[in-house]
């Protein structure tokens, strides 16, 4: 999957590297600020 994405990123190496980094950051932000908060409360809360 990662190799496939890498092969399909356009531009020279530097551009591809930057795009890849941005993709990783976007995925992390999506998890931290959307997915995990939505999952909150599905298990036993801890006081």
């Amino acid at each position: 999957m990662y190799a496939w994405i890498w092969r399909h990123l356009p531009g020279p190496l530097a551009v591809r590297g930057t795009t890849a980094l941005l993709l990783v950051l976007a995925a992390a932000a999506l998890l931290l600020f959307a997915v995990f908060p939505a999952l909150d409360g599905l298990w036993e809360p801890r006081p």
């Binding site: 992390a28 998890l31 931290l32 036993e44 006081p47």
Partner: protein
């Protein structure tokens, strides 16, 4: 073929590991961001309520009604205490066990707070020592409690928030007590860390507008 499958599986495993690590980051740090903001909001609302002179005698669930000052946690360490101990309420700050005594009253003024994450109000609860002051500020008074004991109990031991700590849930109050509970050990819900205190004195704000001397201790 086998190679493709293996590569796919290993990528999946690496991704799952990264997501798990990220989840730890979320629980420990990111939840603090939202909770700190929520705490600021409820604290501000309470100060406004007090200055506008219309505090409600019985706070609604989730509403802040007092400030707790713990000099041992740091100079000027203070948190607004909200009514109730549901998860939603504890995200905003330390929560008052509904039905337990109000500050300064006979009985047990009992609070719960998160240990790690969601504002981490009671992360340092274990550093409190007997004799340390815990000052609870209400609209018109300062209630100075002194820490008496620190214990670690099973989460099922609800008698720590009884009117007399350790007594029956509907028992008589034999004094004015303070109880603070949080999770123990850090990052776990296995046990509860419980700090008890007793009321030393209550001072009206008309007498001590800037607070009692106990605030400057430690």
């Amino acid at each position: 073929m086998t190679r493709t499958i293996l590569r796919g599986l290993s990528e999946l495993a690496v991704t799952a590991g990264a997501v798990l690590l990220l989840f730890v980051v979320y629980e420990v740090w990111v939840t603090d961001l939202w909770s700190d903001r929520a705490q600021d909001r409820v604290a501000e609302e309470l100060r406004e309520d007090w200055t506008s002179g219309t505090p409600e005698p019985e706070p609604d669930s989730g509403q802040a009604f007092a400030f707790v000052h713990v000099p041992r946690f740091g100079e000027d360490w203070t948190r607004a205490v909200v009514e109730g101990t549901d998860p939603d309420e504890l995200e905003d700050g330390p929560g008052h066990y509904a039905g337990s005594a109000m500050p300064g009253e006979q009985g047990n003024f009992a609070m719960a707070g998160h240990r790690v994450g969601r504002g981490s109000p009671f992360i340092a609860l274990d550093v409190l020592e007997p004799g340390d002051p815990v000052v609870v500020e209400t609209v018109d008074a300062w209630h100075v409690y002194r820490v008496t004991t620190t214990t670690v109990v099973d989460p099922s031991q609800s008698s720590v928030v009884a009117p007399t700590p350790g007594g029956a849930a509907n028992g008589e109050a034999t004094g004015a007590f303070l109880t603070m509970t949080t999770c123990h050990p850090k990052f776990s819900t296995r046990e509860r860390l419980v700090v008890h205190g007793e009321l030393e004195a209550s001072v009206g704000k008309d007498v001590a507008p800037d607070g009692p001397a106990a605030l400057e201790e430690v």
